[in-house]
Symmetry: C2
Subunit: 284 residues, 2 copies
């Protein structure tokens, strides 16, 4: 059975899978200096932002990704004061980061200002923290920003980028990780979206190797459902500057104030459970 | 962008989502007295069995579902000797059940013998335990089978069925659960596939209510990735005849002999972590 144009479809030719959402209509389309951005109204997932043909964020399921790219890492760091989000132009990760009272300053470094302006229009609920006095919205190249970041000035770097092709490619390699490592304080960490455990295990293995090669002491995988991304199963990879167990600051009172839809203390631990085939691939 | 006939697509009109796999070719199709069964060769997921247009099992990702529909429940029961699989005609769940030395007898009750015969041909790796002396393959109606089962003769009932429409509808209601409860020994449990936590939370809530209404003392949700099913995120629901904590017999030596691709002790606990929105929906 074929799908017609009443569906938005992202066919992934390399993985042989496709995911589709039933459409209302396309409400916006533009070519920026960096990429093509489209916004659709879907029948059951609210608004959908598509960049260069890839699903980026939907109203209905973005909570999974945004919560899991921020809270597990934030509660694994003993005292995250200075946080930077590289990419993340829809501001959903920034919003989650700023739910943490211990964060004193969070900078979002997004290359394409239009992503943020369109998020403000079509995903206003993701942008509610943009006016927080602790927030800085910087529009520019994340790779250049990190190269110039003051040494030992950051506690947590969240790399919330598109796939490792096109503009985001440079965010997935040793060179960039070396700059990240330098910018982190002792005990600091990086967390990066690292695609599907089932479909992209080779990429995950390469990323962890590059993180070690760059000088990070330890890496870990976390995983979670993410419906609109290929396979519906997604991961983040954490690299720690200093070896040792993660802090796990899972105080029930603190967690309760977070107001999350997916994340809680049980989910925090669950996300770090490593499936057997991943253990074998990563040699852990 | 539309998808042509070089893809197999399962459009879910009610949920507004679709999942597709890039095809090689259709290698078999038949109409049985119960349903239409098709087998495809896909480009990246091996063989794919489709029943009445719904993806059922693929070579590449079935380990997720089969391991998670069996091992968490088996290791949550203190001593599972007599197990029945209702449905499960591809024999993958039966194979996992028979990896447990403590299981003395496992019966698969599948209504459509053709599912099993085609699995033997196209998914032979799922059928390797069919000749186990502890295994019985019975072809007939699971609802009738359960009605006639000897009282207190079973430790674990695994309901590995299609969606709650068509032939499997009767497996998702109070009447059937009452028969299951009667057939279970004290301390016995039932585990049933219960669709997607994101897309079908209303169904999950209804199922748990029906299990309680039937007299089960306690219910729990477990969840796991399942790439070819709608949303890529799937669940099972456990109903316990007797209230109380689950046994959690997670002895490392025993687990190591299982030879699983996804499941292990960490994954066991992770699967029972309940997301916040599910807690709210289930009132737990």
């Amino acid at each position: 059975m074929s799908l017609d144009n009443t569906w938005f479809t992202e066919p992934m030719d390399k993985t042989g899978t496709a995911f589709s959402l039933k459409l209302g209509e396309r409400v916006h389309a533009e070519q920026t200096p960096y990429q093509k951005i489209e916004i659709y109204r879907t029948e059951t997932f609210g608004h959908l932002m598509v960049i260069d043909g890839c699903t980026m964020v939907s109203t209905r399921d973005n909570f999974l990704y945004h919560e899991m790219m921020s809270h597990p890492a934030l509660y694994s760091h003993p005292n995250p004061r200075d946080v930077v989000v590289v990419g993340g132009g829809d501001c959903g990760t920034l919003r989650e980061v700023l739910k943490h009272g211990e964060v004193q300053h969070a900078t979002q470094v997004e290359i394409d200002e239009r992503v943020t302006r369109l998020a403000e229009q079509y995903f206003p609920e993701l942008c509610v923290a943009n006016g927080d006095p602790r927030a800085t919205l910087f529009f520019g190249d994340g790779i250049a920003w990190m190269k110039e970041a003051a040494p030992e000035s950051l506690d947590l770097i969240i790399i919330d980028s598109t796939d490792p092709v096109g503009p985001a490619e440079g965010l997935f390699g040793k060179k960039f990780y070396v700059d990240c490592l330098k910018a982190l304080r002792p005990g600091g960490m990086l967390v990066q979206q690292s695609e599907s455990p089932l479909l992209h295990i080779d990429l995950i293995v390469e990323m962890h190797k590059a993180m070690h090669d760059a000088g990070f002491a330890q890496t870990r995988l976390l995983h979670f459902p993410q419906v609109i991304y290929p396979s519906g199963w997604w991961s983040g990879s954490i690299a720690q500057k200093t070896a040792g167990p993660l802090a796990e600051r899972l105080d029930p009172a603190t967690l309760q104030t977070l107001d999350t839809q997916y994340y809680n203390a049980e989910i925090h631990r669950a996300a770090f459970a490593v499936p057997n085939f991943v253990k074998r691939a990563l040699g852990v």
